[in-house]
Symmetry: D2
Subunit: 482 residues, 4 copies
């Protein structure tokens, strides 16, 4: 028995390299160690550094907790909270990781770990399918936390036809579906979208959550190793255009990659199946558990850090070129401050209003979190707009690292100095602002936040239906005799 | 010694009637009992009902507290908080009053009581002017809470010239200033603006807070009885156009009136003077005390109730005419929900982050409150816009109480019924929505919220300067080597 | 034969008074001359003044045209345009009337005159119902223009249930429908909404335009005199609270009143019937004629004047209290300038792109007009918001006319003076701004503009479907090989 | 004498290659033919194609005009308009070029050609400096149009310190200034920002236009060849990351590059000097000539094409994935339609309101153009936001050209097909949308439009001061007796 179940960075990288997952990018299959491929080396290094923090003596207490069953130290993001203190510990741990990535890794391990924990905590919901299914889920959760596995997941069907009336025919399979069940397991064929970090995680979790509406062949939930036979990850163009941390300070480190996942008659072993052909179970697993408050608590914790990061960068621009006197500049900075304070308050309020759910899990109040998750898709793009408006021409007159070591470096030091920074610091700052708000990496971050927890139109509808305002309306009716 | 210092409704009305304050409206001076004048009878009745709640056996514990010195029960809004529990008690009390007025009385007594408490708690600030000044303030606070006095105040100079370069000459006095100091006291001449409830309170507090910039003759703070010799309140047109609670459900009850206050060589006795010709003291009293967090805590508590009230009315419109299915309707309701949840969370966060100030007062965290107070001026007008968009033609086809008791009542019952309400309930609801969003009373409420705590442009500047983001910028500089 | 068919003001007032139309307000039926009733006297005087302009020697050429058939002079708003010059003449005439009312009379006679002209010009559309129907419409148009009749109309069903699935049962009639056809004519029972100026016009035009979806009993179009047996107008509360032109400069003049129209088995003579139980004809009359471009041309012409009026008032506030130096003030004024310039340009563009329709009518380009009509509902409310933001406290510290003639007038002249105006001018200006943006009259104007040509959501859908962008998409496909 | 003065594509490329201008990029000086350098080859090819259109028999009449003096055919963008027909011809020519570049080349030759024409047309303004200066400008304009020269220009000082109080010391030169005047010419030292296309044009125009405030050493205007001794162009990182027209359909073609221009004691020959140490002349040249209406007419003509291009791409996304039924989708498309129609109308209105200026140049009405130029910086970023909101996940699951020719092409054809397009067309479309709204190239376009004609805050101030609304305010004062 290891004393520490949590992975360190090297273990993570070695495990992923050993998998030899089938990953295609720009017409070629990745060969050799994926951690050395230019499209993945930056993000894998950053992810490894996160795992490494679990071993940092100063952070260990926060980043891990002691397993009640094995006594080993487990990553805190797997911790099922049973008290408000647990929620606080989770928040602090999540924000510590988020700070290390400037909030730019939406799929840092805590995201899926939280999901898995939240679902396993309410595995009883799967009971009606037969006792093996909740057990499969609980067993897998234990296994995952003790091995500190990493995950990707897919949550949408290919965007072939988004019309509300569209149903896919059986003959022309696009969206991944159950095509057979054998003694070995389920057989899955078709594609699923948007596996972020697809190809650089131990496992892939696949479920029906997020699908618009579906029939039984689409009602499933399972997890399988990324290198399962028949599984293929097809990547988009990498936005890690430049490996220099100076030139592309974010893209070179945090470009997580997104991929289409193709299932070519993939067999999912029965012990890894959590939901099978049961629409109700597939829905309930997400809607009746504390999945939504717990995962949104993780999301908002990260978003707060990301928002504060942008606030800092915006303020640094203001300081650097000395534009703090202008009313419109103050107003823009205040816009971010206002957003940060609201977001922080909603997070706090969710913890203050937390209650034990029926399985004994301490679930944060879902209302402030749903509101936070609904408003961030409008706030974050506005933040990047503010960076553009403050940085202005400074964002398109930034030389590269090579320029600063070339014969023209004297010109740069003279002509690109700033009121309150030398040219090198100023260039670094503007490159950072550019990589948040204007690079292909940055724009993908913006798009990602727009849709992080689903289409905002659907989130709005959900809030409308879930938010209890009956007491308020009754009070008004009584007060005014209506 | 009374066992209860707090006023009841009758005491309040009798006291005000006895004052015979000089109040002018529509070219005529109010004669006789002001509580019977059509412009004031509605709001005085509502205010009396608030005081009466202090005697309601079910509410007494909440609405009052026991004086440590006299053992009497004092109105809770005078309570100087020394613990987070005190802040909670204050919030609940404030919101109980706010619910009784649908948040429509911005000058319900708790507002100025809180101000007076907050200033008196930090009276030491006035020490440098001489020991009598802090003592004057503390004595007056004690007197006010034990008599449960009501207040108006004035916070802006006449809007003659808002140019930043404008200074008033000594020869042509407009803004009220100190023109003399005699053995009796200060002599004040000139005008001040916007005494809401001017003429129907025991006293008027006058200070320099809120003035753009000022010189010594404008640096003062004092309180005097409303009927002081030389004092005159000039009212605007009353928006209590109709005394029927059916026709104008809000205007008939909560029209507080605004007035210009004219000082015609008014003598302020020395024992009522808190600041005199001392710009620094005048500023510090507001900026160095816990005035801002404590008063903003009162304001936001009320705003939350008002926001929830509008949410309820909006939802009732949706229910009544059955428009809940439309995406744009859901989105509009969610806009209000989002605002309500943010506002509630900011209020909670201010209490969670409360700290004792140097005089032992438990001051809420000012940041979330400043943000709340800064955003409400944009939110509330949008709420009224949403009511208009949902109510549409229904808001301009509403008959009166008299119509429902006339020969055409049959037509009304038939043709103005709603999907989920009878005609009378529907008419009441739409009249309520109209009185929030479209009547002269309602529009004045909207304007009031736009400027409640001052010009939003100045609030933005204040937030920009007060909000600490140095830690954040330093972290980013370190992380990215800037 | 008169040489002038156009009415003068006295003729209009006398005709309306003679009708003795059944008008109910605040539980009482109007008796005696309606032009002397406080709810109607202001607007009827203003309307009479419009008619009178047709006789003003300086304006006569513009305000009227010579009938080809009778040689009489007819009001220009009845002119069927057959050239771009005709469109220009129509625009100038419409704007001349609009200037006289500050754009505040949405139902000045030109609005319905334009409608009637546009429908009659395409009366052939009704041919399939039988030759008498187009003839009825053409004959009525001739009669109307030669008598210079005034009209109200109703365009929506009572707001009982706005759900998309709601159908009214036959047993419980709410929306006005055909209940019988006799030798005398159609028999109509039920109610219709929002007859603005209902009760103070010669006739009422009733049609199915604007109904969401309907069945045959609701498919009709006709015009009948306001005093037809069985017809009743039920008014809302009058917002002409004060007859003083000083105190309520707009409400005292232009409060048009809105009413519910009740049809109690009203008989519509056959010669006045244009559409009967024919859904296609009812729709085509509006969608296949040049109704939309011609009426929108009238609407936008008026809106331009109204927008310019608000711009002027906003600028006058800026001048009066000397706030023009502040960037946020400049930005707000520029917001209105931008809106004005766009609106004017769209109107110009519609004339530049005008084409003859198949009946020889010169129809303006509908696209710029539909865009203008779709954006004004967002612009106008913003204008009123800007007035509130600029006027601030000045909008709730305005005395009345009586105050200026009372013993306190000296105080007012001293304390309410402005940087660039004396107190009286300043009070007049702020009363005007208040009556645009804050009075019950003003708010009703705002609501009216929000929904002037129908629910903006439906207008958006219409634009989406009507706007041709096929050429653009084909070009891009070709250029980029898609 | 050539019959055609206008360049063809080859001439342009050969001329630029021959210049051997000093261009630095990523730490290295460009050697060899710049037209073959990966950072410049795409855009130079596109620019050459524009010149080539001047020889297209179908377009020649439009793209060129016959010189009155030489009889040669000159590029239409050099045409000084003297009639409304000339303005129309100019607009059509500009839009023809703009269509060829999807409006993505802000510095297509017509932009600077228009500037030069507009300034030369009003060269008399320079008369007070001495007769040689207007003559220099006119001579240079003749030379430029007859040789069909290409230009870059620089319009801002380095962003060292944007504080309003900042003045640069003489000892530490940053912003380019006159350091000496010799018999040869002016001597210039320092830097200027944002020469778009810097290094790939024949000449560079340098003037004080756009500087915030300046002193005499900064008051100059001249044009010199790009390869003048002492001149250096320092480029930012190239956003032409991928030369494939399939992968980066816009970036590979239209990446214009921006550069810092360094003047190392550059000598400007006297015959090329238009303004020297004369602040008034420097300002008047831009503010008193018809520069603003003429250049804005060029800008808005291009913006209309760009807006229509985005509208088409947005609509193609809607068609491709069949989302046209959703109200929020319709609303987003209509947002673009509304913007397009307003922009087109403003352009039309500027031509309708054109007037001859005092030098006989037909100047479009400046008001609608200033409004258009002021609103585009808000509209265009919103367009790209709409593309992101419509394209959603489809924008980050797009494979590359290589993928479509690889072993996995079958998967792509199956799983990335769309409702109304095959996989290849759909991928091309989404790549195009991505390159508008999300690539580094696209974001730079967005930034560029935000600041195209200067800081929007300053444009707002200018509009506030230039827009005549005196007539409107006087009318209101008269009408309401203010």
């Amino acid at each position: 028995m290891k004393m520490v179940a949590a992975s360190n960075g090297k273990e993570y990288i070695d495990r992923i390299n050993r998998l030899k997952t089938k990953v295609w990018i720009n017409g070629t299959q990745v060969k050799g160690n994926i951690s050395e491929h230019p499209a993945f080396s930056g993000v894998m290094k950053s992810q490894a550094a996160l795992y490494e923090m679990q071993y940092d003596p100063k952070l260990k207490e926060l980043m891990t907790y002691k397993s009640e069953t094995t006594g080993e130290r487990i990553g805190t993001s797997f911790l099922r909270p049973t008290s408000i203190e647990d929620l606080e510990k989770r928040r602090k741990m999540i924000q510590t990781w988020a700070k290390a990535t400037a909030g730019m890794m939406g799929r840092s391990p805590d995201y899926k770990n939280t999901t898995l924990m939240a679902l396993a905590a309410a595995a009883d919901i799967l009971e009606e399918q037969g006792p093996q299914y909740p057990e499969n889920l609980r067993t897998f959760y234990r296994y995952a936390k003790e091995e500190d596995l990493s995950f990707t997941h897919t949550f949408i069907a290919p965007q072939v036809n988004r019309s509300s009336l569209h149903y896919e025919s059986d003959d022309d399979i696009v969206a991944a579906r159950i095509v057979d069940k054998t003694s070995e397991g389920l057989v899955i064929k078709g594609a699923r979208l948007l596996a972020t970090q697809g190809g650089i995680t131990d496992e892939i979790i696949v479920s029906s959550s997020g699908l618009k509406m579906f029939e039984e062949p689409f009602a499933y939930a399972f997890s399988i190793p990324s290198n399962t036979e028949g599984l293929k990850f097809i990547c988009r163009e990498s936005f890690a255009y430049d490996a220099s941390n100076f030139n592309h300070p974010l893209g070179s480190r945090f470009e997580e990659m997104d991929s289409v996942v193709v299932f070519d008659n993939v067999i999912v072993p029965w012990e890894r199946v959590f939901v099978v052909e049961n629409i109700e179970a597939a829905n309930n697993l997400y809607s009746k558990s504390s999945y939504k408050p717990l995962v949104q608590h993780q999301i908002v914790s990260r978003q707060v850090v990301k928002a504060e990061f942008v606030l800092a960068v915006a303020q640094l621009i203001v300081n650097t070129i000395a534009i703090g006197e202008y009313p419109h500049v103050k107003e823009k900075i205040c816009e971010i401050i206002i957003a940060v304070e609201n977001h922080k308050a909603l997070l706090m309020a969710s913890e203050m209003g937390a209650k034990l759910d029926k399985w004994g899990t301490m679930a944060p109040d879902v209302n402030p979190l749903s509101v936070a998750v609904l408003q961030f898709p409008k706030l974050y793009p506005r933040f990047t707009e503010i960076l553009q408006l403050l940085g202005a021409s400074g964002l398109v007159t930034i030389p590269t690292e090579a320029d600063l070591h070339s014969p023209i470096k004297g010109d740069l030091h003279q002509y690109l100095q700033a009121a309150n920074e030398n040219a090198e610091s100023r260039i670094k700052l503007f490159r950072l602002a550019w990589d948040i708000s204007m690079s292909a990496f940055g724009s993908r971050q913006t798009l990602y936040e727009r849709f992080f927890f689903g289409d905002p139109n659907r989130l709005t509808q959900a809030l409308y239906h879930e938010y209890n305002r009956h007491t308020l309306t009754e009070e008004v009716k009584k007060q005014f005799g209506i």
